[in-house]
C-alpha cells in the first residue's frame, strides 16, 4: 500500500532521507529535471533507487514545450504548441519517444500522455484510453508498466453518473493502473467543501478499484485521507503539496522554493498552520508536544521554535508534512486508523479551539472542510 513521492523542484534529497524511506515510489517531473539529471540522481541513490517504483509522468498537461527542463526530453518536441493534437500518429510517436526516455532514465512505469482538455466529455476519456493503449503496446514488452493518466475536473465529478461513466471508459483498457489527477479551481491550501464533488471523486476511485484498476492519486495533499478511504491503493505527494494543488496555473508557477513560508502539518486539526498559529495553539494547549513527538520533524520544529531564534524551518516543514503523509497512508492501509476517525478527532479539536475563544491568525484556516469531508465519506 505505497505512498509515492511526487518530485518537484530540488526534491531529490528527500528521497534519500532515512526517516522518509517508507515512500515506495517516486513520480519523476520532467519540468523540474532533465533526463541526464534524473539518471545522475537515481545513480546517487544507489540501492534505494532499486527499491522504488519509478513513474515517469510526461507532463503533457498543457501543450507548451519551453517550461523548465521539458525541452531536454525527447518526447517533448518543438511542434508541441502547433501540432494537431487529434492526430493519432503524432501521439504514437510521442509514446515511442516517451518509452525510449523511460528506458533511458530507468523508469519502471510510465503515465500515459494526456492533455488538459477544453471539456471533460466521454470522447476525451475515450482518447485518453486509446493513448494509454498505444503506450502499453510498446511498453509492456519492455517490462515497463503503463498507467492511464486520467485527469478529472473536480467541480464536475459530482454530477450524477459522471464518476461511473469515466470509470467505465477508463476500465475498458487492459491497462490496469490509473494515474488519477484531480484538476481543481481552488486556491492553494483552500480545501474543497463541495460535498457532491468530493463524494463523486470517492465514487470514482471506488469504481476504478472495484473494476480491478490500481489507482495512484497524484498531487495529493491532506485530501489523501479521502482518497485512501475510498480505496486508492497508491497516493502521491510532494514537498510543495502543503502549498499548491493541481490548478490551472500550477505549471506556470516559478519552480523555486525561496518565497515559500514554513507550514506545520497538524495531524490533530487535519490542517496546515503558520508559525504564529503554531505558537498560539501551543500556548493555549491545543498542540500537544508529546503527541507531536511521534513525528521526528515535529520534534525538531518545536525545539527550534522553543529557542526563539527566528530561524526559518521551511525545510523541516516539508519533511514534517512528508513524514505525516507516509505514516498516515500506512496507518490507513493497515487498518490502524480511518479517515473518519482522524476527521472526527479533528472536528473535536476545531470545536475546542472555538470554545477557547482564540482565533487563528490565518483567517481562511477555519477547519470548515472537516465536516464536509466527513459528510462526503458518509454520502458516497
Amino acid at each position: 500500500m505505497p505512498a509515492f513521492h511526487q518530485m518537484g523542484h530540488d526534491s531529490w534529497n528527500l528521497v534519500g532521507e532515512d526517516a522518509l524511506s517508507a515512500f515506495r515510489g517516486i513520480v519523476l517531473s520532467p519540468v523540474n529535471n532533465g533526463p541526464d539529471e534524473v539518471v545522475e540522481k537515481l545513480n546517487a541513490l544507489g540501492a534505494r533507487a532499486r527499491q522504488l517504483d519509478i513513474v515517469l509522468d510526461p507532463q503533457f498537461y498543457k501543450p507548451k514545450s519551453d517550461r523548465g527542463s521539458l525541452p531536454q526530453w525527447a518526447h517533448v518536441t518543438s511542434d508541441f504548441e502547433t501540432a494537431d493534437l487529434g492526430d493519432v500518429g503524432w501521439w504514437e510517436e510521442r509514446c515511442r519517444k516517451l518509452l525510449l526516455e523511460g528506458q533511458r532514465v530507468g523508469a519502471t512505469s510510465i503515465a500515459s500522455p494526456a492533455v488538459i482538455p477544453r471539456t471533460f466529455d466521454p470522447a476525451y476519456y475515450d482518447w485518453v484510453v486509446n493513448c494509454a493503449d498505444m503506450l502499453h503496446q510498446k511498453a509492456d514488452p519492455q517490462n515497463i508498466s503503463t498507467l492511464v493518466t486520467t485527469i478529472v475536473y473536480l467541480p464536475e465529478i459530482g454530477l450524477p453518473g459522471v464518476a461511473e461513466r469515466i470509470a467505465s471508459i477508463v476500465t475498458r483498457t487492459r491497462v490496469d493502473r490509473v494515474y488519477l489527477v484531480f484538476y481543481d479551481d481552488l486556491q492553494p491550501r483552500v480545501q474543497r467543501t463541495d460535498i457532491d464533488a468530493l463524494a463523486g471523486a470517492i465514487t470514482l476511485i471506488r469504481a476504478l478499484e472495484f473494476a480491478g484498476s490500481r489507482v495512484l492519486v497524484a498531487f495529493s495533499g491532506l485530501d489523501m485521507l479521502l482518497w485512501k478511504s475510498a480505496g486508492a491503493t497508491d497516493v502521491a505527494t510532494g514537498k510543495f503539496f502543503n502549498l499548491r494543488r493541481f490548478v490551472p496555473g500550477r505549471w506556470d508557477d516559478p519552480a523555486e522554493g525561496g518565497r515559500v513560508l514554513p507550514y506545520w502539518t497538524d495531524d490533530e486539526f487535519a490542517t496546515w498552520l503558520r508559525e504564529d498559529d503554531v505558537r498560539l495553539l501551543l500556548r493555549i494547549g491545543l498542540i500537544d508536544p508529546t503527541r507531536a513527538d511521534a513525528n521526528p520533524y515535529s520534534r525538531e520544529i518545536l525545539a527550534l521554535l522553543g529557542t526563539h531564534s527566528g530561524d526559518a524551518w521551511v525545510r523541516l516543514g516539508w519533511r514534517q508534512y512528508m513524514y505525516w503523509f507516509v505514516q498516515r497512508e500506512s496507518d490507513m492501509a493497515s487498518g490502524i486508523t480511518t479517515a473518519q476517525a482522524i476527521l472526527t478527532h479533528a472536528d473535536r479539536r476545531w470545536a475546542a479551539l472555538e470554545q477557547s475563544g482564540a482565533f487563528l491568525f490565518e483567517r481562511a484556516n477555519n477547519g470548515e472542510w472537516v465536516r464536509a469531508w466527513l459528510n462526503a465519506l458518509l454520502l458516497s
Binding site: G161, S168, R172, F210, A211
Partner: protein, 280 residues
C-alpha cells in the same frame, strides 16, 4: 418484384453458379432471407440480403469480423460476395448450417436446465474473450442469435451489427438509441453511449440471456412487463431483488454482477466472468 421472390431467384442463381443444391428456405430476418443449401453431402446456410447504401458497410464489417474469427462457439463464415440480379445488388453469405436450431426455439419449448445454462455461459464467455482479442463487440446477443451445432454445442451467430472498436463507429451519436435488440440491450446501448460500448456490453447481453434461461423469465421483469424491464435497464436500475434471489438460489448469483448498470461494475475481463460462472 417482392424481395422474397427476388431472394429465391438469387438463391437459385447462386446455387447454379457455385454448384450447390437448394434444399429449403430456413427463415427470414430483418434484412435477409436464409436458405439451406448442400454440396457434396455437406449442408450450409445461404443468406441473401438486398444491398442498400446504409446496409453495405454493415455487411462488409460483419464479413470482415467473422473472417478474423476462429472459435468453436462463433459461426463459421465460408464466403461472402455481392451479386447483381434484376437490377438489384444483393449481399450473399455462405455460412455453416447449424442444424439444432436457436436457443429461442428451445426456450419456447420450456425452461432450459441449469447444467446447459452453465455450459452455454462458459462457451459463450470464451467466445466473447475471442471477440475481445479482435476488438469486436457483437452488440446483439439474444436467444435468436444463439444456435446449436449438434446437441448442446452452442454457437454465436448473426454479426450484423458487430462493432469494430478500432474502426470508426457507424452509429450516429445523435440518435436516441443505439443498435441492438432493446429487450436484451444494456443501458449504454439503449442510451446510445458509443464510448461505453465494449465487451462488457456483450457480457450484459449474455448474462441477460443466461438469467432468463435460469429463472424462466426476463430478470428485469419480475412482473413479466417487458416494457418496464427495458425502462429499468435504461434508467440504470439494479436487477430487481426478487430476480437476484432467484438467480442465487438457482446457482447463478454470479450473473448479478454481469447485469450491473455500468460497465465498470461488471466483470472486467472475460476470464473473470468465466471464473465466476465456474466457481458456483
Amino acid at each position: 418484384m417482392p424481395i422474397a421472390t427476388d431472394s429465391a431467384v438469387v438463391a437459385e442463381v447462386v446455387c447454379k453458379q457455385r454448384n450447390f443444391s437448394l434444399i429449403d428456405e430456413l427463415g427470414v430476418g430483418a434484412h435477409k432471407r436464409v436458405y439451406l443449401i448442400e454440396q457434396n453431402g455437406l449442408r450450409f446456410a445461404l443468406k441473401i440480403a438486398p444491398i442498400t447504401p446504409s446496409l453495405k458497410p454493415r455487411f462488409e464489417r460483419e464479413a470482415a469480423a467473422l473472417r478474423g474469427c476462429a472459435h468453436p462457439s462463433v459461426a463459421i463464415l465460408h464466403d461472402t460476395f455481392a451479386l447483381m440480379s434484376g437490377g438489384q445488388e444483393f449481399w450473399i453469405s455462405i455460412e455453416e448450417y447449424l442444424a439444432d436450431g436457436t436457443l429461442a426455439a428451445r426456450f419456447a419449448r420450456g425452461k432450459v436446465d441449469g447444467p446447459l445454462v452453465r455450459a452455454m455461459g462458459l462457451a459463450l464467455a470464451n467466445a466473447l474473450d475471442h471477440l475481445r482479442n479482435r476488438n469486436l463487440v457483437h452488440r446483439d446477443i439474444k436467444p435468436a442469435n444463439i444456435m446449436f451445432r449438434t446437441g448442446d454445442e452452442v454457437v454465436l451467430t448473426d454479426f450484423g451489427i458487430v462493432r469494430m472498436l478500432d474502426a470508426p463507429t457507424l452509429t450516429h451519436d445523435f440518435l436516441p438509441q443505439g443498435p441492438g435488440t432493446p429487450l436484451y440491450a444494456s443501458a449504454e446501448q439503449l442510451l446510445n453511449e458509443a464510448t461505453l460500448i465494449d465487451w462488457r456490453t456483450d457480457q450484459f447481453g449474455l448474462a441477460l440471456v443466461l438469467a432468463e434461461c435460469a429463472i424462466g423469465r426476463h430478470p428485469f421483469a419480475p412482473e413479466n412487463d417487458l416494457a418496464l424491464a427495458i425502462m429499468r435497464v435504461a434508467k440504470r436500475q439494479a436487477v430487481p431483488a426478487k430476480s437476484c434471489e432467484q438467480l442465487v438460489s438457482a446457482g447463478f448469483g454470479a450473473l448479478v454482477r454481469a447485469l450491473a448498470p455500468w460497465p465498470a461494475q461488471r466483470y472486467r475481463n472475460p476470464k473473470d466472468l468465466i471464473d465466476a460462472l465456474t466457481a458456483v
